[in-house]
Subunit: 251 residues, 2 copies
């Protein structure tokens, strides 16, 4: 059903939760599970929670060392967070996220949803790799959901959206969505270009890039648009090299 949707568990702490998450995946039509550096992982502890039905989801889970490795080949990545304060703006509700994911999947995308470890959640380092963030509404008294419970709620919303298939009119095939790798290449190129024209401050360009990243992440960037933006960056850099002050030319 949700063939091109994957659940990524980042450093999960309890194998039992991994088992429960595998079962939740199966319930909601997802069969791609990726574990990033799982802690204390033990298939024998995870298996009973997955039940016989979801054994193949659990045992077929890909285990990798780093999040970038896990995200290779995906066209959009969404992170889950319980922390909604600070700079974490534009955080989606599960049903909003499900709508966005549905759209991405229908346009041929491959989507990953990343869940952080039970105790700490995702840090800024991991969420910076995400195209968008989502949080599950909770009561004030109990803001922390069990990991597998968070998985089932989010997938349930995605499954509901996938169930109704509205009419999609014909027309020329859309350009394919860009991969996360292409998006990162574009961000690097944008950063370089905006530094070259002194739009970004030299002291902490990563920080000043955040609004730019946020802006381009919300767009389901297609390959032709990627080419367009890369072309603009190339031209800015060419211009600076050709005409800029000496110091800039050496950058």
């Amino acid at each position: 059903m949700l063939d091109e949707l994957a659940v990524v568990l980042f450093r999960p702490k309890f194998p039992e939760n991994v088992g429960s998450a595998a079962r939740a995946c199966l319930n909601m039509g997802v069969d791609k599970l990726i574990l990033v550096a799982p802690q204390n992982f033990d298939l024998d502890k995870a298996r009973p929670l997955a039940t016989a039905h979801a054994k193949h989801v659990l045992e077929g889970a890909r285990i990798v060392d780093t999040l970038p490795e896990a995200l290779e080949g995906f066209t959009a990545v969404f992170g889950t967070t319980a922390r909604t304060g600070g700079w974490r703006k534009g955080i989606m509700s599960p049903s909003t996220l499900a709508g966005v994911i549905d759209e991405r999947l229908r346009s041929g995308g491959r989507v990953a949803i990343v869940f952080g470890p039970e105790d700490k959640g995702l840090t800024n380092e991991e969420t910076s790799l995400c195209s968008g963030l989502m949080t599950i509404p909770t009561s004030r008294e109990g803001t922390s959901l069990n990991l597998a419970q968070a998985v089932v709620v989010v997938l349930y919303e995605c499954f509901k959206k996938a169930l109704d298939k509205p009419f999609t009119p014909g027309g020329p095939p859309e350009e394919r969505p860009t991969t996360v790798q292409e998006q990162e290449a574009l961000f690097a190129n944008l950063q370089e270009s905006l530094l070259a024209i002194d739009f970004l401050k030299d002291d902490n360009p990563d920080y000043w890039m955040l609004p730019v990243r946020r802006f381009f992440s919300k767009i389901n960037l297609k390959r032709n648009e990627f080419n367009l933006l890369m072309g603009v960056c190339r031209q800015i850099q060419w211009f600076v090299r050709a005409h800029g002050p000496k110091g800039t030319q050496d950058r």
Copy 2:
């Protein structure tokens, strides 16, 4: 939040699931948990799954012998079932049920949702005591949800409905969308900037702008993003004036 909503677990088999259900109740603003003849019940096995936060929900759970006893004083009772065949018609989805429950609660009702044992679910004897039945949509391959997972999905829908306004996660209010006038001002500014760095051909810039316009038009551009992009244009133009060739400076 959902003060007059109660979760009734009918003959639950695993104390761990009771603990997880207690935690799910707390997450979704429900603090009334009723256990009907729990099997193998052991608070010590349930407690870790409830976590310290939901300890009071678990320990405050009322334990009774029969379902009629559990349902005393409620104004509406809804049962959950995975079996949707046969005579079990008019079974609601979780969101439909949540709407019905919301209405009942707002009109001063006291509502119970009954979940059956892990292996068998509710029998006709128990569902005959219910004002309505609900089932959670699942994939064909995995129709059986874990008990506490079923609890969290159903309560999540109720909690969403109970939040007066649709749930919007924390953070500053969204920026207003840009007007068509602002978008045109941005396009003019972008064209000027892209001409200045020779990205657009001088002979027919309007034509070469088309893909750029198309790209920015598909975005629901917000005011802060407009400001960001206008800032980039300003900087490009400043850079060209400061460092560009003579001819460009006069443009």
